[in-house]
Symmetry: C2
Subunit: 568 residues, 2 copies
Amino acid sequence: MRASKLYAPTLREVPAEAEIPSHQLMLRAGFIRKAAGGVYTYLPLAWRTLRKIEQIIREEMDAAGGQEIAMPIMQPSELWKESGRWEVFGEEMFKLKDRHGREFCLGPTHEEIITDLVRNEVRSYKQLPLLLYQIQNKYRDEIRPRFGLMRGREFIMKDLYSFDKDEAGLDISYKKMYDAYTKIFSRCGLVFRPVEADSGAIGGSNTHEFTALAQTGESEIAVCTKCDYAANVEKAESTVLYPEDETELPLEKKATPNTKTIETVIEYLQLPIEKSIKAVAFQDEKDKLICVFVRGDHEVNEVKVQNAVGAISLRMADKEAILAAGGVPGFMSPIGLRKGTVVIVDATVMEMKNACCGANEVDMHYINANPKRDFGEVLVKDVRLMQKGDACPHCGAPVQITRGIEIGQVFKLGIKYSSALRATFLDENGREKPLIMGCYGIGVSRTMAAAIEQYHDENGIIWPRAIAPYEVALVPVNAKNEAQMKLAEKIYAGLQQAGIEVLLDDRKERAGVKFKDADLIGYPVRVTIGPKAVEEDKIEVKVRKTGELVYFTEENYEEGIKALLAKL
Amino acid sequence: MRASKLYAPTLREVPAEAEIPSHQLMLRAGFIRKAAGGVYTYLPLAWRTLRKIEQIIREEMDAAGGQEIAMPIMQPSELWKESGRWEVFGEEMFKLKDRHGREFCLGPTHEEIITDLVRNEVRSYKQLPLLLYQIQNKYRDEIRPRFGLMRGREFIMKDLYSFDKDEAGLDISYKKMYDAYTKIFSRCGLVFRPVEADSGAIGGSNTHEFTALAQTGESEIAVCTKCDYAANVEKAESTVLYPEDETELPLEKKATPNTKTIETVIEYLQLPIEKSIKAVAFQDEKDKLICVFVRGDHEVNEVKVQNAVGAISLRMADKEAILAAGGVPGFMSPIGLRKGTVVIVDATVMEMKNACCGANEVDMHYINANPKRDFGEVLVKDVRLMQKGDACPHCGAPVQITRGIEIGQVFKLGIKYSSALRATFLDENGREKPLIMGCYGIGVSRTMAAAIEQYHDENGIIWPRAIAPYEVALVPVNAKNEAQMKLAEKIYAGLQQAGIEVLLDDRKERAGVKFKDADLIGYPVRVTIGPKAVEEDKIEVKVRKTGELVYFTEENYEEGIKALLAKL
């Protein structure tokens, strides 16, 4: 490709709306353009990278026994009503009607469609296992689409669905995908961790997220400092913390003027924060109140709360709802709430001694609360977020909290969809059984963005070779110089002949502009054709990642560049 | 690939809803499954064929200087309102709203999006020509989706858009695409004709449809029996027919009881049909009445009528509208209609002598009508459909009418979108000018269906080699026979080694079932491994297209099969 023809409009300024490096750099380097909030056009450079990622995925899916298909993006509502998810997805699902008034959605995922596809055609255990996948646009109406391709409303995903005759078969399919994902992200050059995760709205019981480590990531993950345990903090099981033993003192109500927050009340009472209990009140999708209590220095894990009560969604509770239950916002207490109110107390809180908590009266707190003695009938659950220094649930060593980008997820679905949609088969004994399913997604466009988050510097992107739009940028210093252009054309032809993807920057721009663009776009290797190359047979090759400069001759540049690329 | 693993559920019965061979065979051979009206899942075999067609398209687009991108399927309404097409597309466009109430459509085409993309970034004539394309799902809410992939509501298209600095540049881009299309459809093995066509709702002035010839096609095309003229009948210019000269007789009104149709009136009056004038009344999108008159043996061409009056859509006129204009349904006449009524008279009618036409009274007709003398002020236009035997507008030889499937279309758009969306550039003299555009589509999924319409027999599909899902079916007669399976595995490995795409039918089915499936799915070549192969080193190879049987040995089968495939 010649840069004079390439459609890659670069920007000198950092676009104001772009908050994270991948978004800024993809706009600046001419990879993407916004069409609407969370909806992008992929320009030629981005499309080349995406097609390389897709090809890596395709090869590994095929190697693991997957067969590629393409399911519709436009999905009839009937199947979603059959599975019960038409309402569950709520506003996150784009819905539309056709000219006859029939309802459709734009597929956020494809469990319903694929289950419908196989339910009439897979009849015998002999047809199993079956692994079908596609690479395709997906749609989610995010409240706040942001971070460019990280959280878009139209995005590219690979989704594979496995069908097995039993749990043992599912374990094998799951393992195959887990291993294939490890290969895919390794081949893409990413630094990642498979982490234990929560299964969210898709359902199912066993799941790992493949997380690319990056400080700009939206996922918080707990990583053991000793063993290989890693888990999304939403999922990570917090261990129960036991305080030193104390004699239980009598419960006492105290006036605590102007102490609506934990910070103010512990200061007023001169207590360590570990002696305080914090309240957070939610309402679920049916407006039911849920009061949650964690230790003052802990944070409530909403996902755990949601799972604990089987809620579909949670929001912060209205003042009115709290008052109606006998609570007082800012001074909520498990003691004295109206009977029948859902109260969840974190397991660590349950072990506390002589603690301070609200008293359900304005400017009043209890001290010397002893939950086991004073709280009555409550739901005790692990509902806090894991924190730095908490014990690893596998080995007990302290964990660290780091951030990452979820780029893939593997799920064991079991019979959730096959039983809802009656997708059955006949086993070896002729008995009808529901298919055992798994589903496995990769965010293709997000993987591209994650790679940029991991590989960039102040000058631009630094592509891992496997997913670079071109491997080599070939830059004649002066495109008006005949000798330089002649040599550049010769090397251009030579590199292409050698199967190397090369972009010839034949633009009549200053060398500085061309070097800057090469750095910004992030080609792994830059070859410079200037006077030295023409006069001294010294061809300068710069490695984008290290800045290293190497010199080759017309004799050995091909081999030399191949060797350099092999290491990138 | 092994047939025992391949997900290609075949059906014994012809599905009731499928009317044409491609639809029937794709369902029966396990290529597609319906998800909703006009919405399909592509199973592995179809997906392989589609990806081959896509790859052929991609190679030719790239060779012609095209750059691949991917634009959004979900498009904001603002751009469509800017171009004025938000309303024009009407019910054929799928529309939806996001959670904030913002309007979007599912792209039926991408002129607006691409014009918006380049309008801010292409500034100079030096950046032109620019050719950008994508291969992607498109959406049209057809009133009656039918014929499987022929007229779907979700379908795959390649669309390329060209931007030039002047008409001469557009001519070059258009020619490049015209030639690329010729290569693409030739490489796919199709029998096709580029035909002159009408530009429809997309707009623009110069256009060709690439039409795959097939009796099941929905397009009617007029093809000259002598020169290379071919045109869609909607577009084909009909020549004016001049009758023999006659003395004009006086206009006379005659009672013609029970003669609401042309057939009854000519029988009653004992006139040849060429002496009669037929009326058809339409109403446009604003309910305006349009009365059209053609010769009794001719048919009205609605597209020409629509273009003649600049209407967006036409429907048959209501009885009330006709009466309000002074007409009488069944007896309409250009003579005596209320002033201001739009009357279009076909150019051939205008030359008629002493003809018969309605009299705007029940059971009454005029005879000896001489349009030039009697019809007053009317719009004279070519508004009839070209018929078999009409004169070719290029050479005068008679035309034939044949049918075909529109698989591609090339359009000169000119400045229609660039002026509406203000997409301008600076020319050599620093003057701001609108970009000159062209657009070029290929129905990818429809091309697959068209190939089946052209290549099938009573036993199934007969794929052209270039787009066959696999090139060779390798069939051990008895999969339980060890010697046969051993040889089959050896040849399977050998063919794969030789770069041939082969499906090994390792299923433990009767040979007859496997042969039937091979014919149904339509692999170009079938290799049979039976006793003869094992015992006599005679490997039977059957060519699906001709039924020809050839025998090879273990020594020469690879070369032999390659040579056979090269001819298919």
